[in-house]
């Protein structure tokens, strides 16, 4: 486009394409949020178990890998809803195309499920294991022996399983960002910084989600510290992303304007930066310094920020072409 262009008229008016792209609705940001949060939960759970060598003391944290699998399945259901040709969903698993982050993601999800499930088994305490073994369907199907064997396998490979969960979680977190980051056609997204950005946002929202279940004091303290570190990294990466865009070529500068005076400015700064990052960070710092009683408000705000980041980036990014 010439800089002195006065007017552009196009006859194209394709559904979901014009006047600007809106091919992805709520399903994709919902998945990106849930996937990131699950990545964070797996990373933090695996790290804690690896560092302490013990299982988490509070039951909600021990059950977290299983909860994460439920959340991930919800996210995948959203992904499925987004597919326009749902009967062809199996096609994802008949190919591996290294240049396509979506193809990587499909296979990463296949790795996440068994890793998280086995981690979930190995974290259970004896009483909880008995409850699992005594679950009626297993007994009716005569599968109690299989359940015992699974527990034995998970325990014998405990360290490997924890490391696999850590790696699978990190891959999941990074890929949700690269899914958008490699799309050179959309200047707002076209940065690999989105990989680490979504990863640290996932760790932050994962910690916040776990904090909602009232873990024990030392677990609470560790999670808040992880959250503060992740929020700090997220602020830094968001800043770098904006600088990268604002100092880039004309199309990138136009994309930066979406957040620096353009149509998404208010939503981005109010929901993502202030309500989702700065306010909970200040609350957590005060809570740690002044030894205040913890509240669920900061964790809830982090979750709102995590959802907002993905919705706003996805919606704004679809507007960031701007030339025919």
């Amino acid at each position: 486009m010439n800089t002195n262009t006065a007017e552009i008229v196009t006859t194209r008016h394709n559904h979901l394409i014009d006047p600007h792209l809106h091919i992805w609705g709520w399903e994709i940001p919902a998945y990106l949020f849930l996937g990131g949060m699950v990545a964070g939960i797996l990373i933090l759970t695996a790290l804690t178990a690896l560092r302490s060598g013990r299982n988490p003391g509070s039951r909600p944290l021990r059950l977290m890998p299983m909860v994460a699998l439920g959340l991930l399945s919800l996210g995948m259901a959203a992904l499925f809803l987004d597919l326009e040709y749902k009967l062809h969903v199996f096609r994802f698993y008949l190919a591996f195309l290294p240049s396509s982050p979506m193809s990587w993601g499909s296979w990463i999800l296949v790795l996440v499920y068994p890793a998280a499930f086995l981690m979930g088994l190995t974290l259970l305490e004896p009483a909880e294991r008995t409850a699992v073994r005594m679950w009626k369907p297993w007994r009716m199907l005569g599968m109690t022996g299989w359940v015992d064997r699974l527990f034995a396998f998970a325990d014998s490979r405990r360290r490997g399983i924890l490391i696999a969960s850590l790696v699978a979680g990190a891959c999941l977190g990074i890929y949700t960002g690269l899914l958008l980051g490699v799309l050179g056609a959309r200047p707002l997204w076209n940065s690999t910084l989105l990989g680490p950005l979504f990863l640290v946002s996932g760790i932050s929202t994962g910690a916040a989600f776990m904090l909602l279940f009232r873990p024990r004091d030392h677990e609470h303290r560790d999670l808040v510290r992880w959250d503060m570190a992740a929020i700090g990294a997220e602020l830094l990466l968001l800043g770098l992303l904006l600088i990268n865009l604002a100092t880039g070529p004309q199309t990138s500068q136009a994309a930066a304007q979406l957040f620096l005076g353009g149509s998404w400015t208010g939503a981005f700064w109010a929901l993502v930066v202030i309500a989702g990052l700065l306010v909970p960070l200040v609350m957590e710092v005060l809570e740690q310094r002044k030894h205040l009683n913890p509240t669920a408000i900061s964790a809830a705000l982090v979750l709102v920020g995590g959802i907002s980041l993905r919705f706003i980036l996805l919606m704004a990014g679809q507007e960031s072409l701007g030339v025919f």
Partner: protein, 180 residues
């Protein structure tokens, strides 16, 4: 892969935005109502009264470095013989990654669920005919042929006339050229 590299050359100085190419394509390819595989863009530059206009018939650029093909998770989007970018409907899940990847917004979701776009009318080209848009153009502003054949119209035009491609900064190496 054959040595043929199909390309289209469009003379913006002859195009009058009559829309015949759009209608011919819709009829030839049974494009669903409300959608188009090719379209017209009129770009007016300058300040009144010193204006200049450029008319372009636009479509999929059949990029040699096609971001839609790189983004496709199932191999449905692929580069076929002659360098033409096609979508295998049987492999397409309608995930729309290719639409997000295309800098030209040349793709759309067909009401049947798969992603659809210009095919350079390969079903006609195989029979030795021209794409429908090229054949119907009343000002003969469009040329189609093998860029690797020095005697073809497209190769000759690009040798002798000033030309450009759209959004070159995206590095897609398009095979649709505009004479300016």
């Amino acid at each position: 892969m054959s040595d043929v590299r199909y390309a289209m050359v469009i003379d913006t100085r002859l195009c009058v935005s009559c829309k015949a190419c759009v209608l011919a394509c819709q009829a030839e390819n049974d494009v669903p109502e409300g959608f188009c595989r090719d379209w017209l863009v009129e770009e007016v530059s300058g300040t009144f009264p010193d204006l200049s206009a450029e008319n372009r018939s636009e479509r999929c650029n059949h990029c040699s470095n096609a971001p839609c093909v790189s983004a496709c998770p199932t191999g449905a989007s692929h580069i076929a013989d002659g360098g033409v970018v096609l979508v295998n409907h049987d492999k397409c899940t309608g995930c729309k990654a290719c639409i997000g990847a295309c800098p030209y917004d040349a793709r759309y979701v067909h009401p049947d669920g798969y992603v659809d776009k210009c095919t350079f009318c390969m079903h006609r080209v195989k029979d030795g005919r021209q794409p429908a848009c090229v054949e119907v153009c009343p000002t003969a502003c469009m040329y189609f042929g093998d860029l690797n054949d020095p005697k073809s119209d497209v190769a000759r035009m690009l040798r002798t006339r000033k030309h450009k491609v759209l959004r070159p900064e995206t590095g897609t190496d398009p095979n649709v050229f505009y004479l300016v």
